[in-house]
Symmetry: C2
Subunit: 390 residues, 2 copies
């Protein structure tokens, strides 16, 4: 909980300009001091981490994951590389595997993924349900997410995504009613957010509005899968409802992006999905930027369209495939993602923030973007506690 | 040198169809037997590696690297992400840093990169000069490559690339004459191959022909950087001269690709370059495939346009960005790359081949493609010697 980080060659706090040759002090889990190494307070904590000239950044905030699932989607993946289009239907394969897995199996799988994410510098993570698709199974995933919070030092944010896909054989109106009816219990079981996969072939804008306004009435914050497969007006709905985030956005239109900016909706970019789906839709980051939308980056960790726990991989693609600058990408992966979760205590290293940081395996954050396949992160610290020493 | 590999859940030899539940025997560094685990010969070597159900593939053959260099190209990289085009000029920055480094420094840097490559499953690697650009400095890089062969278990293939770029301040005709005049000594210092960066703003087709025909007269095999920045006719030259490989090929034309296929030129795909340069030129793999060109994959490891030692990263992009199937990509990264080096003793696990293999951190090779940012390789074996046990 108390830690002095020394030997920081370059520090990105996201609240100030990058600084050279600095130190950082964490007390009670929170950042209490940053400054020139030569001015380190005499009473700095005895517990020390010497990062030997490395670049230190705020721990990554992964604002969009589907972390709790069982099974692989290997056949779908191989078929997609042979040219078959993605229609969201593969979600049902994961639903079957997830329902069939025990609580302990799901918890072990999710904990292993969380550990991988942490080794890549993630310190806060949003976790969606959505592979249950019955009230009982969805609430089970929230319970597992709550138990996961006791198994990993990651700060978790639980999201209820009953409206992930209409289950096979169900009437869609009845299913939407069931999702809506489950919202109060989802909130009671720890969900802080509600999300809907609003897209072509999944849920309509009207259905999403119904789910999300109910969720809002029950005190949940709002997120939205929007414009991934095709433009359907989901981004405009996010703006209308004042969602904290609209995510994916490959097919967002400029006027909808301007509406998002005006109502403070953060745009969550998921470049590993675009790569995994081979959609070649890489232009939306600039549409959002031009409209003044605050950007976030996330992994969308899931078995079908983005099997990825690594925020540095998302940052690399954010830069090299989507055209973000290095500054924009690191800001999106930290401060922007934190804002998409409406948190001001993570995503930066200003005084008062949690002492969550990633020690890059590089002297400069640009090297982590440039070095493809290299080890991005040497050490991750959460609340002033060193998670691994390498 | 003698090793029994047990517990292989899935084996890709590249000479037979994928097999389940197999074992593999290496004696004297060479594969002597593969088959059903239940039929393992009674006299199999006592030294064992149990891969516990993992997928085993031939060690990757990285057919195009510039491994021996000093310095970073961080400023150029950051500028490129801000929209500045690549013209090959940054090579000179690396030349200055490489000339300024000591032999020991260069050797240590290259050995560290080789170790990273090996941890990602590479077992054979081509290594080019090209950051010396004087006879003395180019020959020094060949000497360092020869010393590197004693520092790493990787099988190295040295390539003389004096014609990498015209050095600043030099007359281009004089420089080409100097490159040509150095060829005999380059062959004597261990170069097996000669290569030319034949492209817009670098060396012309006529200059490349002059260099390569001289190299051929001195017993060197021929490779060619072709059609990366723009179409200049380099691929047709590769076909005319019967080069073992033409590399890059982003702007190859279909008729030139057919000529390559007719004369047995292997097309070396370098997808990490396309990503690093943000060139969005992803269509050439299908042009080459349609023309019947045998494909290889490589990293092009270099500080400016592909800082990458990882063949699995190249495989991922080969599939997800270039559109190769999983089968095509693994074949290109092993057998295809071996053919581009005119070797039949690596790149496959048929009886008689070197016992070079990568134990994937997965039960199926498709999972290594799908799992972005995951650990791709658990263990690498070279000549029957386990290089790391994880």
């Amino acid at each position: 909980m108390n830690l002095t980080v020394r030997g920081i060659g370059r520090l990105l706090t996201m609240t100030d300009e990058p600084q050279r040759d600095t130190a950082l002090v964490v007390r009670g889990g929170r950042v209490t001091w940053t400054g020139a190494a030569s001015e380190l307070p005499a009473d700095a904590p005895a517990e020390e981490l010497d990062v030997q000239g490395a670049c230190v950044v705020p721990g990554f905030v992964d604002a969009h994951t589907h972390l709790v699932f069982a099974g692989l989607r290997r056949e779908e993946f191989v078929a997609r590389l042979a040219g078959q289009p993605y229609d969201g239907g593969g979600i049902r394969v994961t639903v079957d595997a997830t329902r069939a897995a025990s609580d302990e199996q799901l918890l072990d799988l999710a904990a292993a993924r969380a550990a991988t994410a942490m080794s890549h510098g993630t310190t806060t993570m949003e976790v969606k349900t959505g592979y249950g698709l019955t009230p009982e199974d969805e609430l089970r995933l929230l319970d597992i997410t709550a138990r996961l919070a006791g198994r990993t030092p990651l700060r978790l944010e639980a999201t209820y995504l009953g409206a992930h896909v209409v289950p096979a054989g169900r009437d869609r109106d009845e299913y939407v009613d069931e999702v809506v009816a489950t919202i109060p219990e989802a909130a009671a079981r720890g969900a802080r957010w509600c999300d809907v996969f609003c897209d072509q072939g999944v849920f309509t804008v009207a259905e999403a509005r119904h789910v999300l306004t109910t969720a809002r009435d029950h005190g949940l914050g709002l997120r939205l899968h929007a414009e991934e497969i095709a433009w359907t007006g989901a981004a405009a709905l996010a703006a209308e409802l004042g969602c904290a985030s609209a995510d994916h956005l490959e097919h967002v239109r400029a006027d909808d992006a301007r509406a998002m900016a005006a109502s403070g909706v953060v745009g969550v970019l998921l470049p590993t999905v675009t790569l995994s789906l081979r959609s070649a839709a890489w232009g939306h980051a600039s549409v959002l930027r031009d409209a003044g939308v605050e950007l976030a980056l996330a992994t969308d960790c899931n078995p079908g369209t983005s099997w990825c726990e690594s925020m540095p991989y998302a940052i690399q693609l954010g830069c090299l495939a989507m055209g973000l600058s290095v500054d924009e990408a690191f800001r999106a992966a930290t401060l922007g993602s934190a804002h998409s979760l409406r948190r001001d205590d993570v995503g930066h290293l200003g005084v008062g923030a949690w002492g969550d940081l990633a020690v890059l395996d590089a002297e400069h954050e640009a090297d982590v973007v440039a070095h493809l396949g290299g080890r991005p992160v040497r050490t991750t610290v959460i609340g002033g506690v060193v998670q691994q020493r390498l």
